[in-house]
Symmetry: C2
Subunit: 313 residues, 2 copies
């Protein structure tokens, strides 16, 4: 059973329950309006050893940072400010105290960098592998929240950074090359918290999500939720140094932002973004009324066999 198939089953099974003020499943975070034009955002991610990481290929400190980073990215992707997390940690008996302390130090480092409190958690013994679950809570003005469902035909599609470095780094790790710069990028994702917050304030930004499974996979979720199609220009996709186009499109865990913006204001948006962050927003395509997802190479439609990212399975 695929993850998305299972989630669809879950959603159907729980649709009859009261929403209690929450917006339903389908975005990077759940949304709870709390009055005074504010809302809280909630997201959770489970990382398991052997599937999401290899203990030999990452330091405890890096893993502590990464466990938090992937959740902060989900909050940023909706235009929210992360404020707190709850951390569950299941450690096998062969994990040392030093490992646990280093893990927490990494978690603390990134919490401090983004001003996020740790407000709860659970620690247990595991009889097999390391398991980490983080729930992140964000806060946003309701008018700043961006969803996957708000892309409109004609929108420019942007990505907020170069892609593929994490995927290329994963290829290094899988080949046993743990010490390459790309492998380090894979182990140390940088959530675009300030960028997401800033993009949240811009009304010309319509839809937004983070790139965790790879552009080829993530764009499909955005299109499904927005009931739109898209054309993507492969020659405009920014490949990170050391990554090829396939890694940029199919590699996961880049944790850059994918967004769509009103075409009439997208040049100004990109200029303002560059002025604010000293880095470009990359226009990689446009939203269409329908017709599914079309990849183009210098204007000609192509039919690549690209699919989303899978972890160590």
């Amino acid at each position: 059973m695929t993850e998305f198939g299972f989630i669809e089953q879950i959603a159907a099974r729980f649709a009859a329950l009261p929403a209690n003020g929450f917006e339903g499943i389908g975005d990077d975070c759940a949304v709870l309006p709390i009055g005074n034009r504010e809302a809280l955002l909630f997201t959770t991610d489970l990382l398991t050893e052997g599937v999401h990481f290899l203990r030999a290929a990452t330091s405890a400190r890096e893993l502590g940072r990464k466990s938090l980073a992937v959740n902060l990215s989900d909050v940023a992707a909706m235009g929210g400010r992360p404020v707190a997390t709850l951390l569950s940690l299941s450690l096998p008996v062969d994990t040392t105290d030093d490992w646990a302390v280093e893990f927490m130090e990494g978690y603390r480092e990134l919490s401090e960098r983004f001003g996020v409190a740790l407000v709860g958690g659970d620690t247990t013994r595991s009889d097999s592998s390391i398991v980490i679950n983080v729930t992140a809570i964000g806060r946003a003005e309701t008018s700043h929240i961006k969803r996957r469902s708000d892309a409109r035909a004609g929108d420019t599609i942007f990505v907020s950074g170069e892609l593929g470095a994490s995927g290329a780094g994963l290829a290094d790790l899988l080949a046993g090359r743990y010490d390459t710069p790309l492998a380090a990028i894979h182990r140390n994702p940088q959530p675009q918290v300030a960028e997401g917050l800033w993009l949240g304030t811009r009304p010309e930004v319509h839809a937004m999500m983070d790139l965790s499974d790879g552009l080829a996979s993530d764009i499909r979720h955005l299109l499904e939720r927005s009931h739109c199609g898209a054309e993507l220009d492969t020659e405009r996709i920014p490949c990170a140094a050391g990554a090829d186009l396939r890694q940029a499109v199919c590699g996961g865990e880049d944790y850059k932002l994918l967004l769509t913006a009103d075409a009439a204001h997208s040049e100004q948006l990109a200029a303002d973004y560059r002025a604010r962050f000293g880095a470009p927003l990359y226009a990689v395509g446009r939203i269409t009324d329908g017709g599914g997802l079309v990849w183009r190479e210098n204007g000609r439609p192509i039919a690549p066999s690209w699919h989303g990212f899978r972890h160590f399975d």
Copy 2:
């Protein structure tokens, strides 16, 4: 490293971070006031196969219910109403689709019974055992929230139900007797959501928490947080049918409530509770100014070697 030792280390390490409006670690839930005399409550629990449950000894449906129940109990223990959960599920490849569907059906059953929405989650493959993490979100009037830290000298100590059935059921399970009534109780905890909400409205109730690790262990956390001592009368501890006193005191996972109340109003409280729920509140002792925890048997101090509950390790 014990769980509580580790949590203390964590708390110290994160104390310098901004609280962002949250009350710190130490109660059954974190508390976030959201204005209009309301607050949100947050709790998380991680269940791992082989430590918290044995796959052969529980049905998937029971496990679905239990994963949710233990979190609802934490919300109830603070006087809150559970409103939503996020569920992370890591399943090994030898878990069948039927197992996953049954698990979700159990989770849905209890969600429906308590009117709780499922607002997010994560499903992944596991390379070893089943792992379940639930984060529950509750809502409460700020004046109704009960904490561990508010016990006062002279308070009557109550428990909200008979104890030990779950511990006795665990003994059955560990002996390979899966089909006994006590084993069924262990697998099917009933969170006292209505009871916790009602007790939250009563100002004479000072401190409250749920009994997850066993009275002998849980009372110590309450006393530490309240800077008090206590006398407990062993002959007044309500042992469930089939359970002995040791199981009632040391067995975990009963998920009844432990509370302290102003002695001047505690008879009225117990009478009102009985009128409302058709069941007694059991007075088992009193809070003292200091002197630690004293167990008494018919008035005489005794020195039992009782300790808290541990799971399958």
